[in-house]
Point group: C2
Chain length 225, copies 2
């Protein structure tokens, strides 16, 4: 028989997902700012593999628009011009609203617990502002929030669009030296508002609250440009 063991060797798919997830996070949280060259050889060495599996990950990341490979030159983290960013933000607003309309699900107990834990962590962060930690919590909150919709394709698309805009948002925040503490406070209020709506089962309103915050964060971003 086949017994499940704890020390199962990770399959090829597991290794792929792991590398993909790690690199995506690093790009979105500005560990690799836009324009950074990603060395295939160095990354392959870091993950203890050869270039071949790593290149597979890079192909996927290129498909998602996060990196771009140029023959003979290198693989670079992409940047975005303002027009493209604005269009993506507009789209994210509409799709976020759709999250509350297409197959809205009452938040799972586990989901709810995660959201409340996130709320606590963000409030704690208000005392010791840290841009990267801020980005991390924001990412987890957004991805968790997307799960209020039962529409899987919509969720996936919202995730992708978030990954595409997150780094630009964090970058311009850092470049314009926006007060991180202020953004943390705004973020904390956003979570609380959202949780209040979800607590009474008003998923539609929660989605609209999210939409307004996406809109306002974009306007704030535009003002400092």
């Amino acid at each position: 028989m086949n017994f499940a063991t704890d020390d199962m060797l990770p399959s090829a798919r597991d290794r792929f997902e792991r590398m993909y997830s790690i690199l995506r996070t690093r790009i979105c949280l500005l560990d690799y700012p836009p324009g950074t060259r990603l060395s295939e050889e160095a990354l392959a060495a870091e993950f203890g593999t050869s270039r071949t599996p790593l290149r597979r990950v890079l192909v996927r990341l290129e498909g998602e628009g996060l990196v771009q490979s140029v023959h003979g030159v290198g693989t670079f983290v992409t940047d975005a011009d303002f027009t493209e960013l604005e269009q993506t933000y507009q789209l994210r607003m509409e799709l976020t609203e759709l999250l509350g309309i297409l197959g809205p699900k009452p938040p799972d107990p586990a989901l709810w617990e995660r959201l409340e834990a996130l709320s606590a962590e963000v409030h704690a962060l208000a005392d010791t502002p840290d841009a990267r930690r801020f980005g991390e919590l924001n990412m987890e909150f957004v991805l968790t929030f997307h799960r209020i919709s039962g529409n899987v394709p919509l969720r996936d698309i919202c995730d992708r669009l978030f990954f595409q805009t997150a780094r630009i948002w964090l970058k311009s925040m850092a470049a314009a030296r926006i007060d991180v503490a202020a953004e943390v406070r705004i973020f904390a209020d956003e979570i609380d508002e959202c949780l209040r709506a979800l607590a009474i089962g008003d998923v539609r309103s929660a989605a609209l609250i999210q939409r307004t915050h996406i809109s306002m964060s974009f306007v704030r971003m535009r003002q400092v440009w």
Copy 2:
């Protein structure tokens, strides 16, 4: 100096795009029905290359959800259960409506010409119904229609979603032995309605017309299941 020549050798990117586009079309038009195994070796031989570049294409196709590779077994064209298909259709309806709202562009002269040519071809097809040609024209029309929105990310997403649903739609049409001629007539009317709206610059209405046709085609599909 570097002169531009007509006999430029295709770059790696060109070769990639070519193979990707061809395979995508074959999958969407049922040349490779859902469940078909794609032989890396055979395809590499067909395109006159080795497995390595071809695998890159398959990785991209897997990212788009059109195929799925299993270690030691094969690479297969994906199928979809009804729930997933329904969700994708609902999403396509909403996004198609958005096409008329986010950055609507007055149709380009070239675009307009293409649309009218398509209309003529579809009307011509009514005499000699052919399922594959029908799928081909429908694909080109949908992709062309998506260009009425200036919102590039939205266009790309609509394209992707169409590629994901097209083969399932054609497949269930073929399986249920729906009258192709009837579908062609409906499609011809759809184009004409759409063109009438676009002719007077009412992009929003053109998008809504599209939405209603997506909705109705899904209902027709559901009825034969």
